[in-house]
């Protein structure tokens, strides 16, 4: 937004000041993430920029901590990564199935008590995680699922479904229900209609809800802290322990990998959002 030529000087100054503030805020938001990259290649054990790094001396950089992350002795990261992925994938699938079904029901205009049910369904997102953690722990301990993968997966389904419900409901809000009626009137079975008509149209919403559920599960630490035993440590739990005990550069190597993962997720989410808007005929 370039300023018109007739802008008065004091307004011009104010405008540049405003841009400066915005620049600072953007810097504040994004800069902390970029500290991690260079330090994860540090050849030394300290978490500060060594003199060699400041001079860009190649010897000051190494892949030491990445090797440690993958091949290190008593390496907890391999197991943690496997657990994290298994738990996140199953939790995502569960959230998608339960959440999409519920969203389909909720967006029907015949649904009774819509407000109340919506409030219950998205409550895990509003209730502070620590309280969810305590409540879910009591439940899992009672049914004997504490310290099992299944228990953690179920817990993450609880936390992940609200996102799927919200995104799919939003997608369905622009959904033209006459297409499904047209399909039925042409003799398609309800299952067939869902698979061939409804699902392809709401798929972007389903996937982006699924991404939220995946990230929620993959990044979740509070509930897992209560539930996990020694066999079910996840990446966040390992990072949490590492950050509490001693900040080693290996954690930064892991963090770098996680940032790369989040860039990929961001790109996917963005592409999906645009596709969804195109499909729903929303042009901005």
């Amino acid at each position: 937004m370039a300023l018109p030529k007739y802008t008065e000087p004091h307004y011009r100054i104010w405008h540049y000041f405003y841009l400066l503030i915005c620049g600072c805020v953007f810097f504040f938001l994004i800069a902390p993430l970029f500290v991690i990259f260079p330090l994860s290649f540090n050849a030394e054990e300290f978490l500060v920029f060594s003199d060699g790094m400041k001079r860009l001396d190649p010897d000051a950089f190494s892949l030491r901590w990445y090797k440690d992350m993958i091949y290190g002795t008593k390496n907890p990261w391999g197991l943690a990564a496997r657990n994290s992925f298994i738990i996140a994938i199953f939790a995502t699938l569960g959230s998608i199935i339960l959440g999409t079904l519920a969203a389909l029901g909720l967006s029907s205009r015949h649904m009774p008590y819509k407000g109340l049910i919506m409030a219950i369904l998205i409550s895990p997102m509003i209730v502070p995680l620590i309280i969810s953690g305590v409540a879910i722990f009591f439940f899992m301990a009672k049914v004997g699922l504490a310290a099992t993968h299944l228990g953690i997966i179920l817990a993450h389904i609880i936390l992940g479904t609200p996102f799927v419900v919200i995104t799919v409901t939003a997608t369905l809000s622009g959904f033209d229900h006459s297409i499904t009626r047209a399909a039925s009137s042409l003799g398609s079975s309800p299952y067939n209609t869902f698979m061939k008509i409804t699902l392809p149209l709401i798929l972007p919403g389903v996937i982006s809800g699924g991404l939220f559920a995946f990230v929620t599960s993959f990044d979740e630490v509070v509930v897992v802290l209560f539930l996990a035993g020694l066999d079910n440590t996840t990446i966040p739990i390992q990072m949490w322990t590492g950050l509490r005990e001693q900040l080693s550069p290996t954690i930064l190597a892991v963090a770098t990998c996680l940032i790369i993962l989040s860039v990929l997720i961001l790109l996917t989410a963005e592409l999906l959002r645009r596709r969804s808007e195109r499909l729903r005929g929303i042009n901005r």
């Binding site: 029907s108 409030a119 895990p124 950050l243 996680l258 961001l266």
Partner: protein
């Protein structure tokens, strides 16, 4: 519907109105069946356990179950003078079983909470009761320790008679019910919880304020810039949003440490001396800075989605009618963004008030919040009923805020990404 339409019949001979009603009912059931799996799942694994927290927080059956005969005998005792022989006998019989089962220690601890000095009296009784003879237990017990002649100790036992208690809630706000059953505050040096509640609200409030002050200009910029620039800048908001909370907390731990980059920068600018680097982590400063950055996207996104819908011609119209830019902004633009401000502020406030991970890592002792206290009691002291009570107090606060949020904005308006 008029009475005449009621007469219209469908091909099967059923009145149309009825047939439509049936179809409507069928659709209702169909819609409900779709929601049912998730609803049931959440009710069983989530809503009921939260309710369970409540029964746990008021549960006080432990002492009641340990002294069943005593409490039965105490039913007729008015508590004014020393209890009659039956109570002494019942107590002796109950206590004998506890000593035999080696569970007397629990009772000693529990009753000591109620009346200081009870533990030693009970321990002495545990040793001496083996030599008791049958009959006249009142005399025998009172001989063991002179405190048994003090009616206060018997009243203390009686106070634990109900199998439920609200004492955990009182403890959560640094109060307790004293020997006369009055609710009083604990001594000043032991008031830790109220400080935590105040600090939690204070941190949540200021984090929300900082987030608002920082998010408003950039949301405005994002909403007014041409698409190709704003998409690029949006990444600065969305990338932290999608990045692991622990990664972002880790980066703040690196930045804020004493030899960290922020301190290096201050030394370089000459603001602080090299040998006098301020401690920016493990205190409230660390909590504020890290939480503000982590929660900032949650403020930017709702603000952005509201500002995006405001037509720029409104500001131009205001200006063409003679308003200065400042007046046009405050009279035209700002009021239109209030729904976004409400959504963002309440979202950030709710998230901040229940924050756990970041304060635990960068907060130190002076930066921890109520959530940390709950986790501490869950994992370290194992006082689960107290953790439940505090959790429910926090939940009540959040629900009140959520209710306001719902009134102002509506939960259906939450936008993600």
């Amino acid at each position: 519907m008029s009475s005449e339409t009621g007469k219209i019949l469908t091909t099967d001979g059923i009145p149309l109105e009825e047939s439509l009603k049936q179809a409507e009912k069928k659709n209702k059931i169909k819609a409900f069946l779709l929601v049912a799996p998730l609803l049931l799942f959440l009710i069983i694994t989530y809503m009921i356990p939260i309710g369970d927290m409540f029964s746990r927080s008021i549960d006080d059956k432990m002492v009641t179950n340990m002294l069943p005969k005593t409490y039965k005998a105490m039913e007729t005792w008015d508590g004014k003078e020393l209890p009659p022989e039956e109570v002494f006998e019942a107590f002796y019989l109950d206590y004998k079983i506890l000593v035999k089962n080696k569970t007397a220690g629990k009772l000693q601890t529990q009753l000591n909470y109620e009346k200081n000095g009870f533990k030693s009296v009970l321990k002495k009784l545990a040793r001496k009761q083996k030599k008791f003879e049958e009959g006249n237990y009142k005399e025998q017990i009172m001989k063991v320790h002179k405190r048994w002649r003090n009616v206060e100790y018997w009243r203390a036992i009686k106070r634990r008679a109900p199998s439920y208690t609200y004492s955990k809630y009182l403890k959560g706000v640094d109060m307790y019910s004293n020997e006369d059953g009055k609710v009083v505050q604990v001594s000043e040096d032991r008031r830790i919880h109220r400080i935590l509640w105040i600090r939690t609200v204070e941190v949540a409030f200021f984090v929300t304020l900082f987030c608002f002050l920082m998010a408003y200009p950039i949301a405005h910029l994002l909403a007014t810039l041409p698409m190709k620039y704003s998409n690029l800048l949006m990444i600065c908001v969305l990338l932290p949003f999608w990045t692991s909370l622990l990664v972002r907390t880790a980066s703040w731990m690196i930045l804020l440490q004493q030899q960290g980059i922020v301190n290096d920068f201050f030394v370089w600018t000459g603001l602080v001396a090299d040998d006098n680097r301020p401690e920016m982590m493990y205190n409230k400063t660390g909590t504020y800075v890290a939480m503000t950055q982590i929660l900032l996207p949650f403020m930017v996104l709702p603000l952005y989605s509201v500002m995006k819908t405001i037509s720029p011609s409104l500001m131009r119209a205001g200006k063409s009618l003679g308003a200065t830019p400042a007046v046009a902004f405050f009279k035209v633009y700002f009021p239109l963004t209030i729904p976004g401000i409400g959504a963002g502020c309440l979202l950030v406030f709710i998230l901040a008030i229940g924050y756990y991970i970041t304060p635990a890592l960068v907060g130190g002792a002076s930066g921890t919040l109520i959530s940390n206290q709950i986790a501490y009691h869950m994992k370290s002291t194992l006082d689960w009923s107290f953790a439940s009570a505090m959790g429910l107090m926090l939940l009540t606060g959040v629900l009140v805020i959520y209710w306001i949020y719902n009134k102002l904005v509506g939960v259906d308006n939450i936008k993600l990404g």
